[in-house]
């Protein structure tokens, strides 16, 4: 008898290989005769390359080839950017720099050698003659006259300007009783997947077959783009995302190194591998966030928000990666938060700077928006002297107002913001916390409570709204032995869809979960897919699996009907078996047959049930479908179905996060007392996986709020270039997270799932910042920029002391 798996805390099927060190990430795949590539990268943020001398490098024993920009630029197409915006200035982004370098880490040359050590030695011997140029680093200053211009051909550092939003913002702000303004920073972050990028390529000249193993979130899209860059037929190009050690958006991209390695493998007819070092990873894998903005929010005396305007300078870096210019547009979409704001306007100025490109980092434009709107609501509350919870409630749409249209042009599918808020308030004991805080303040303690009520846009998304298709695909096959194979176009890399999709399939097909295998990431095995990002794998990819199975069951049902010779009878499917429903008259007169259960003597001796109780298993049907000796007339043999699911809308998960902190007056250190999160991601397939996603996201958000920042100095040197200087949260500086959920299904897909991969990074940052600001509010603090370091806090406390003395 089949178990029910959906909704349960099922242990992951991917784990046994991972916990025993038996999985294969790119660097674990070994091919005989493999060469190793090492890149030489710019040490300057902006410079003209006068010459590159590779002669000494080429002489190092073991070195097979050295290539510079001159060798490859005409042969490999530009690194693609899919963000199409009106009047966008797109620089020609070649795989290696030729005349100029634009950021520290910009690749200039590549050495290919018999082993990594030799390649590294040789790269150190390449002589580059640079002419240093003045730098443009600050996204605001770079737009001003007199700033050095990065791409001379444009005559400006402004890549694009964009205005979006609905409602008369001028009138809305005028109608307000008060307008609050605030400068808001979303600092540059590095995604830091623990597995750096890596590429291994093999070319078989006889078969003209190119195989690439690369650590990516988008195997199919990457294959198409790299094939175009190389001018190589896509159907002879197999791209495999093997085990991928985290992505967070950083591997939702197509990188210069991937195409170049493909080209090298074809030049040398030998496999070639490149594994990114951590230093390269922080220099030359995309960054996230990087926005400096100015918000204006208008409100009425009773706390009703009348309008919100956000003028933002987006730090794009020097070149575009896949989605660079598009990310700030997502910020614009989500500026309504979970509030009724009649007029919203965003004015984006996308700016080139002498830094690595920014792109999608977990949340990708939405954490920025949530941070802006949540800070805005807190500023209103502080200004009014009201509890931030009350101001939020005042502006929530009621559950009955869904689908809810925002002034940013979205339709929120479903929501019960009050429900999640109330639950979080109850769990945290919010009112008691406020009482305790008041008492503690009298004793001079600095305790702060921060609340954020967020909504996010997930399940990206309808193809209309996406640069390269927003659907997802699945093929489900029942093999002749009855085993189930699921091929998904999504490309999980830690999220656990090998398990959650197996749960889904096992329930729908009434089989044991161990009889289901989920395959992904190999373009030669899996039908075209879009990939895993934007909290879409379950809501879009899972739905494709769901529909594929429904389609397959229709066919299986017809075969079963035929096998059972059911005639007019209706065949139903339950627990892995097809049975003929008895014609009504008969059914009334014959008692329900008792099916033999293993080991039960009386049952076991029962004769085969009469035709009305006859059944065939899914396995019988699968075998019949493959033997094809007895199938309904004109039916295709085999038992598999493919489905491409196109969602009709995004989904909009939401929730409430509450952080409680105490600040050490002596050191400025921020200590968490509580962290409560109530998230609503619709229906849940595996609560354990959802918790994992939320926790991981919250900790990344905490990193942004308190520790992390990509820092370039005023020469454009990357100061935070190692894990010593770039502060990823460690086990000891984070709170215990108390998690709970509400469940508001969506009708965007039949399972009612919404997506949860980015919720934590979206909901948590504002809650944590709000808590610290709240703790310092007795000292007159209304806002602080991230990352809020102990030093900043300590200085504020110190200043206040002197002020008071």
């Amino acid at each position: 008898m089949a178990e029910n798996y959906v909704g349960k805390r099922v242990k992951r099927t991917e784990d046994p290989r991972l916990i025993q060190g038996l999985a294969h990430y790119v660097d674990d795949i070994k091919l005989p005769d493999t060469l190793h590539a090492v890149f030489l990268r710019s040490i300057y943020a902006h410079a003209r390359i006068k010459s590159v001398d590779t002669s000494a490098a080429a002489k190092v024993p073991g070195v097979v080839a050295v290539y510079t920009g001159k060798d490859v630029s005409a042969k490999i197409g530009p690194v693609p950017c899919a963000g199409a915006l009106p009047d966008l200035k797109t620089p020609d982004h070649r795989v290696l720099a030729t005349n100029k370098v634009y950021f520290v880490g910009h690749p200039i040359a590549v050495v290919v050698a018999e082993n990594r050590y030799a390649a590294k030695d040789a790269a150190d011997l390449i002589q580059v003659d640079y002419e240093e140029l003045p730098v443009a680093l600050d996204e605001e200053k770079a737009t001003q006259p007199g700033s050095p211009v990065i791409h001379e051909q444009f005559g400006t550092n402004v890549a694009y300007k964009l205005t979006a939003g609905e409602g008369d913002i001028e009138a809305a702000l005028k109608s307000a009783d008060k307008v609050i303004k605030q400068r808001i920073l979303n600092q540059r972050l590095a995604p830091i997947a623990m597995e750096p990028r890596g590429v291994l390529v093999r070319y078989y000249p006889g078969e003209q077959e190119l195989t690439m193993w690369t650590s990516t979130q988008i195997p199919h899209l990457a294959r198409t783009q790299i094939a175009l860059m190389l001018g190589f037929p896509e159907n002879k190009f197999r791209l495999i995302a093997p085990e991928v050690g985290g992505g967070f958006g950083s591997k939702l991209n197509v990188y210069a190194e991937e195409a170049l390695l493909g080209w090298i493998a074809m030049q040398l007819n030998r496999p070639v591998k490149w594994i990114e070092s951590r230093r390269e990873n922080i220099q030359a894998t995309i960054h996230g966030r990087g926005q400096t903005g100015y918000l204006e929010i208008g409100y009425k005396k009773d706390g009703t928000i009348t309008g919100l305007r956000y003028n933002v300078f987006a730090d794009l870096g020097s070149y575009f990666q896949l989605l660079t210019p598009a990310i700030p547009t997502l910020t614009g979409l989500m500026l309504s938060g979970c509030y009724k704001i009649p007029a919203i306007q965003i004015n984006v100025t996308g700016v080139f700077t002498n830094k690595m490109a920014t792109d999608a980092y977990r949340g990708a434009g939405r954490p920025e928006a949530t941070y802006v709107v949540e800070r805005a609501l807190d500023l209103v509350a502080a200004d009014m002297g009201k509890d931030p919870v009350e101001v939020r409630r005042k502006n929530f749409p009621a559950p009955s107002e869904f689908p809810f249209k925002t002034a940013t042009g979205l339709f929120y599918d479903s929501g019960n913001y009050e429900g999640a808020l109330k639950k979080a308030l109850d769990i945290s004991g919010y009112h008691k916390l406020r009482d305790e805080q008041a008492k503690a303040r009298k004793e001079g303690r600095l305790i702060g409570i921060g609340v954020s009520t967020y909504v996010e846009i997930c399940a990206l998304g309808p193809s209309q709204a996406m640069p390269a298709g927003g659907w997802e695909s699945a093929t489900v096959r029942i093999e002749p032995t009855g085993k189930v194979t699921v091929l998904t176009g999504a490309s999980p890399h830690g999220q656990g869809q090998e398990t959650s999709f197996a749960q889904l399939a096992a329930d729908q097909l009434g089989v044991h979960i161990n009889d289901v295998t989920v395959i992904h990431g190999d373009t030669s095995i899996v039908q075209y897919g879009i990939g895993t990002f934007g909290s879409r794998a379950t809501a879009v990819g899972g739905t494709a699996v769901w529909y594929a199975i429904e389609k397959l069951k229709e066919k299986a049902n017809k075969i079963a009907h035929h096998l059972l010779e059911a005639g007019e009878g209706k065949v139903t499917f339950k627990d892995g078996k097809f049975s003929v429903e008895a014609p009504k008259v008969k059914a009334a007169s014959v008692p329900e047959p008792v099916l033999p259960a293993a080991g039960m003597a009386p049952g076991a001796s029962l004769p085969d049930p009469e035709p009305h109780g006859k059944h065939v298993s899914l396995q019988d049907v699968a075998l019949a479908a493959h033997l094809a000796k007895s199938l309904p007339q004109d039916m295709e043999p085999g038992l598999s179905a493919t489905y491409f699911f196109e969602p009709k809308n995004f989904t909009f998960p939401f929730g409430t996060h509450i952080a409680v902190v105490e600040i050490d007056r002596e050191t400025g250190e921020i200590h968490f007392q509580r962290y409560v999160a109530v998230d609503d991601c619709g229906k849940v397939i595996n609560p354990m996986l959802v918790d994992g996603q939320v926790q991981g996201g919250i900790v990344q958000a905490l990193g942004q709020a308190l520790f992390e920042e990509v820092v370039y100095d005023d020469q454009g040197q990357l100061v935070s270039g190692t894990l010593m200087d770039y502060a990823v949260p460690r086990a000891s500086n984070i709170p215990w997270m108390e998690l709970d959920r509400t469940e508001t299904p969506t009708d965007v897909n039949p399972m009612g799932v919404k997506g949860v991969g980015e919720a934590g990074t979206i909901g948590a940052t504002p809650a944590i910042v709000a808590a610290v600001v709240d703790a310092l509010s007795p000292l007159g603090v209304r806002h602080l920029d991230m990352p809020i370091k102990p030093e900043t806090v300590w200085r504020i406390i110190g200043k206040n002391k002197t002020g008071a003395a």
């Binding site: 992951r12 050690g245 830690g494 994992g692 900790v699 984070i734």
Partner: protein, 162 residues
């Protein structure tokens, strides 16, 4: 110039010649093909490469293979004894202590050492013990629970053994 070394890894003795500058982690991964030990930084900052050398958890990117002459090394591949998962591995599986799995071998080796030194660690002691191991996926909470679960399993085992 290559140097001869003699190392026992996961109970198997290996003789080999290595370049003096070869890192232990490269020796394990490239010479012995034990690729379960991962590299996340090569600068002793992430813990992905943690293995046990003569019973001590060390970051194998901070040692040269030549320093290991005469030592006993245990890697993640050698942790499950006779095909049975180590309690820490079980704990990680049961409590979803991993997502992408890249930090996991190092985490598990470190956790095994934490429990060896302190069979009943508090939440704070576990977190302190894991300071040198970065995980970008999990937020650590499930890892802490995994280690607590392993502690319980190991305790009940020793109780049975007595």
């Amino acid at each position: 110039m290559k140097t001869k070394i003699n190392v026992t890894v996961n109970g198997v003795s290996h003789q080999g010649e290595v370049e003096p500058r070869m890192l232990l982690v490269h020796y394990l991964r490239d010479a012995l093909n034990l690729t379960g030990t991962h590299i996340g930084c090569e600068t002793s900052l992430c813990g992905a490469c943690t293995v046990l050398v003569d019973g001590l958890a060390v970051k194998s990117c901070t040692l040269f293979a030549v320093q290991l002459d005469g030592s006993k090394v245990t890697t993640i591949e050698g942790l499950a004894a006779e095909g049975k998962l180590h309690p820490v591995q079980e704990g990680f599986w049961e409590h979803h202590g991993l997502q992408c799995g890249y930090c996991t071998p190092g985490m598990i080796m470190t956790a095994a050492q934490i429990l060896e030194r302190n069979p009943d660690p508090s939440d704070e002691e576990i977190r302190h013990g894991l300071e040198g191991n970065l995980c970008r996926c999990t937020g650590y909470q499930h890892i802490v629970q995994a280690v607590q679960c392993a502690a319980k399993k190991m305790k009940s085992k020793t109780a049975v053994a007595r």
